[in-house]
């Protein structure tokens, strides 16, 4: 849709055509190819030497389409936050590439990188630490615009007011400081700030898990509404499976730095295929006491990414483990259109 990769006029109204929703095939906005992030482990008192690598992310490939939401689910330490950081250019990938509108951002020039930075924003989990307590709300929301655009003050003010009203707050809230807001309202402010540059992609890292239960639905609905209005894509990182089902179009399940299953949301929830996905589903809490869940409780804990198991990384905990699982690395198989599984069972 945006063929000219130039600067988006800030006050432009959201585009009326939404390729993601209106039948026409959504375009790929961002693609990760074989992304890796290894952190060195060092030893020694004076002269440190590298004795090993923590393979936080180890060969990740996925696509995010315009106007759609990709969810990444997994337990702590599976590498989902590191992935988010790489997309946000807070971490440099050890290997692999991130293609934004077809261009590798790490190979392109500084101008394109700046352009990419502007197009990808974020909302983090903790609403208490994501707003600088010493800045007024209006300055917080305006900061990305002040950094990236040279706009007259008046226009910035108007846009801040528009953003505030978009996230359900009032214009006068701009004069307050973050501590005068509750958790849910702070998350609204964080969203307003993330939207200020008209980004193409927002990385949502557990955006509701720190909020009170009765507030979560407010924020989730707001995010969905804003996606429609701004035609923005989301990368949602979450551990709560039901939230992911509600929010996402595509879901990737991660285990120990790798994607084990990747599918359209409905397909994944109705036909979970990887044993780990199945175990996650059975471990997730039901929404009604009468729902019978498959009893599939995993033993043990997630192994350390410092020494991941050979072969399939899940094999030590897998109920369906076979001989070859500890030797061969499974290849990705497409078991139905769009549904990718990385397991020797398929």
């Amino acid at each position: 849709m945006t063929t000219s990769a130039g600067q988006t006029p800030p006050s432009s109204s959201p585009s009326s055509e939404r390729p993601g929703q209106n039948g026409s095939e959504p375009t790929v906005l961002l693609e990760a190819r074989d992304l890796k992030k290894w952190f060195p482990v060092t030893k020694g008192v004076l002269i440190s030497r590298t004795t090993g690598w923590i393979k936080a992310v180890d060969g990740l490939s996925f696509q995010i389409r315009t106007g759609e939401t990709l969810g990444i689910v997994g337990e702590s330490g599976c590498g989902k936050s590191t992935t988010a950081k790489m997309l946000l250019m807070l971490e440099e990938p050890t290997e692999g590439s991130i293609l934004y509108q077809g261009q590798d951002i790490h190979l392109s020039g500084p101008e394109q990188r700046r352009e990419y930075r502007k197009s990808v924003q974020a909302v983090f989990q903790d609403p208490w630490s994501s707003l600088n307590p010493r800045m007024r709300v209006k300055d917080l929301i305006a900061e990305p615009m002040v950094i990236n655009w040279s706009l007259p003050r008046q226009e910035i003010r108007e846009r801040v007011e528009k953003l505030l009203s978009d996230v359900g707050l009032m214009a006068y809230h701009g004069n307050l400081y973050p501590h005068e807001f509750s958790g849910g309202q702070r998350q609204r402010l964080a969203i307003a700030r993330a939207l200020s540059l008209n980004p193409k992609l927002i990385v949502l890292d557990e955006p509701v898990s720190a909020l009170d239960v009765s507030i979560r639905a407010q924020i989730m609905n707001l995010l969905k509404d804003l996606q429609q209005e701004y035609n923005v894509s989301y990368l949602l990182i979450a551990h709560h499976l039901a939230t992911v089902r509600y929010m996402c179009d595509w879901v990737a399940v991660m285990y120990l730095g790798q994607i084990v299953e990747y599918a359209p949301v409905r397909e994944l929830y109705e036909n979970p295929s990887h044993p780990y996905t199945k175990a996650l589903m059975s471990a997730a809490l039901p929404s009604h006491p009468d729902i019978e869940q498959e009893e599939m409780i995993l033993t043990g804990e997630v192994p350390s990414p410092l020494n991941p198991p050979a072969g399939c990384r899940f094999h030590p905990r897998c109920p369906f483990v076979m001989d070859r699982c500890s030797v061969d690395i499974p290849v990705v198989t497409e078991i139905s259109p769009g549904h990718h599984v990385s397991c020797h069972l398929y």
Binding site: E75, S76, S182, G184, Q185, D212, V213, S214, I215, R216, A217, Q218, M220, N221, K224, H239, L241, A242, T243, R245, Y246, M247, R266, Y269, A279, L280, M281, S282, A283, A284, L285, P286, S287, H288, P289, D290, I291, I297, L298, T299, E301, V302
Partner: protein, 329 residues
Amino acid sequence: MINGTQATDQPILEVKDLRTYFQTRWGTVKAVDGVSFDLHRGETLGLVGESGSGKSVTMLSLMQLIPIPPGRIVSGEILLDGENLLELTEDQMSKVRGSQIALIIQDPMTSLNPVFSIGNQVMEAIKIHQDIPRKSVWEKALDVLRKVNIPAAETRMRDYPHQMSGGMRQRVVGAISISCQPSVLIADEPTTSLDVTIQAQYLKLLKELQRESNLGLIFITHDFGIVAKMCDKVAVMYAGKIVEQGTVRDIFNHPSHPYTEALLASVPKLEEDVDRLYSIEGQPPALHDLPPGCPFAPRCPYVMEQCREEYPPVFQVDEAHSAACWRLA
């Protein structure tokens, strides 16, 4: 009838009109304001509420671990097996704690003392309440650690908390709490900081322990999923009061208080696509600044004139199902 465990007639724990107030600089905060419920052996009660609803203060009041001052248990009765805990001296109460009524706290990372070994901390609980020789204290501690499925328990006894994962630590806390066969176990959001698969392991473990010794279990949580999976009865708290109480099916099938109804409708579902979640407007109220009348009135979709003026009494919806809402009048 209830999830296959046996419930006897005489409740093991009966709480009547419990009120715990705090003196703060904003005035008196009624953190727990007239809470009543009962619990039978082998039964699981879910105490559901958001932060600031008073569920954790209720738990601390049961254990009488409220910091005094600023806290104070103003009135009420806590009958454990017919004995009113509020009439006990501190010495007597400390004998009850851990032996008859035990506690699992939310955060496994901070709830064990970092400077003592795991074995030491499990044995301490046993030593306090049981007069048995040193050697058998060791044996017994090892026993409970095995019971909570700690691998290589014998070597783990010598380990320190920082050498264990969160899930393992929470198991140790579990081991401590069941080491003296209490009749009531209170679990305060014991799995919020655990991963999903570890949470499933832990919930299963709790169920097994409960079945084995016919425990009365109180589960304090904000998550209706845990209630659906674990509980037989539910009490929903809002602003220091229980607004609805009933069996788990009563609550899920016919929520009678608008707050319960709204909460249930606002949670996304794992098993089906939801087009749009119901979203409760506004914020949970601050306890020092409650509106007159029903505290949920400002956020309630069915609010009536009466709601803003007077707090509703508890209406019986069904035999074991009650709610405090004027719509039921």
